[in-house]
């Protein structure tokens, strides 16, 4: 009986300590998918942290590769079938992105799709970069296609291809693709907050 009481106290203490720890760091729980299972991850509450947790996610980085071959899948492998960037980031003349990808996901074939499906230009490669490097190049008009901060905000919060990250469909086996670890609404709010506050990139 005594032993059970002690075990009970220990469990309550652990729960209380975990609750306190979560509140004190102001983290938020987010649902995402991993290997087809729904899991919960914790992200800091700072707008920059929330924004970068999304931008570093495979749903974004797969189309911002470091080289001239798109990445694909949950493990971000090089796109099958020797697919290449091509001269305008839309594939090659006789074999463009649109040969397989249309303007919406295809749940029969498992081929993802969204309007303007294409690679980000080489100047916007994110693969292998730190979040400070990504944020810096994202705000640099010489590398971001001459966009102003307001235009970057619009791209991140309104562009259908960016927002596809929260509606990525299923793969050929019917398994849902993983979504970013921050909800679309919170991401949009975080981007707007960060840009409105001067788009300050923290030193890391």
């Amino acid at each position: 009986m005594m032993k059970h009481t002690i075990v009970g106290f220990v469990i309550i203490a652990i729960i209380l300590s975990l609750s306190f720890s979560l509140e004190s760091t102001n983290n938020i729980g987010q649902k995402t998918y991993q290997d087809g299972d729904e899991i919960e991850v914790m992200i800091g509450d700072d707008p920059f942290d929330k924004m970068m947790a999304v931008l570093l996610h495979k749903r974004c980085v797969n189309c911002h590769p470091g080289g001239d071959i798109p990445l694909q899948g949950e493990d971000s492998h090089l796109h099958n079938f020797d697919i290449e960037r091509g001269p305008d980031d839309h594939g090659l003349a006789g074999y463009t992105c649109e040969t397989c990808h249309s303007s919406e996901n295809n749940d029969f074939s498992g081929v993802p799709g969204a309007p303007h499906w294409a690679l980000a230009p080489r100047s916007m490669a994110w693969e292998g970069k730190t979040r400070v490097e990504i944020a810096s190049q994202m705000m640099d008009p010489n590398r971001n296609g001459g966009r102003t901060p307001k235009e970057i905000e619009e791209h991140l919060t309104e562009h259908e291809l960016v927002l596809w990250a929260w509606n990525p469909g299923v793969d050929a086996e019917g398994t849902p693709r993983e979504v970013p670890p921050v909800s679309k609404e919170e991401f949009i709010e975080a981007v707007k907050e960060w840009i409105e506050a001067g788009a300050i990139i923290p030193a890391e």
């Binding site: 099958n80 079938f81 020797d82 003349a93 006789g94 074999y95 040969t99 919406e104 029969f108 050929a172």
Partner: protein, 155 residues
């Protein structure tokens, strides 16, 4: 839903679920069996057709997106009874072995030649990425170069 398009020069109006793959509309509804089902996930290219002149893998193309478009399948590639230059070259070089994947290769090649009239070996490697399990790639390469010459002579 109602979907209208032109296929091989003929107007068609179909009433079916808009998410049905175009391949099934072509094969099962319109009874054009030349376009083949291979993998069903846009990987092999056996189902390649043209939508407004561009190569598209029809197993991964919802029929609703064909509305108002001009579709060409292998049955409609030749005009006025003459073989298309790609078909002629395929015949001359005796490319097919089992033949199953060949309509897709021919359609992919025809689309490429519209964009790249004189393809190099590298262009062929980069743009024709369908799959042939008989391994007819060597003969296809020869046929593609020949088709380019035949097509340029027609211009």
């Amino acid at each position: 839903m109602k979907i209208s398009f032109s296929i091989n020069g003929k107007s068609q109006v179909l009433e079916l679920d808009g998410n049905t793959p175009l391949l099934w509309a072509i094969r099962d509804v319109l009874d054009l069996k030349g376009t083949k089902f291979g993998c069903g996930k846009a990987a092999c290219g056996a189902c390649t057709i043209h939508v407004d002149g561009k190569a598209v893998r029809s197993c991964s193309f919802p029929v609703k997106m064909a509305d108002g478009k001009e579709i060409t399948t292998i049955e409609g590639l030749s005009k006025d009874g003459d073989l298309h230059p790609v078909q002629q070259a395929w015949k001359d070089e005796i490319v097919p072995q089992c033949g199953y994947c060949q309509p897709g290769f021919i359609m992919a090649t025809a689309a490429m030649l519209n964009e790249i009239p004189n393809p190099t070996d590298e262009d062929i490697d980069q743009n024709i990425i369908n799959i042939c399990r008989c391994g007819t790639y060597y003969r296809m390469r020869k046929a593609i170069h020949k088709a380019a010459k035949l097509q340029n002579l027609q211009k």
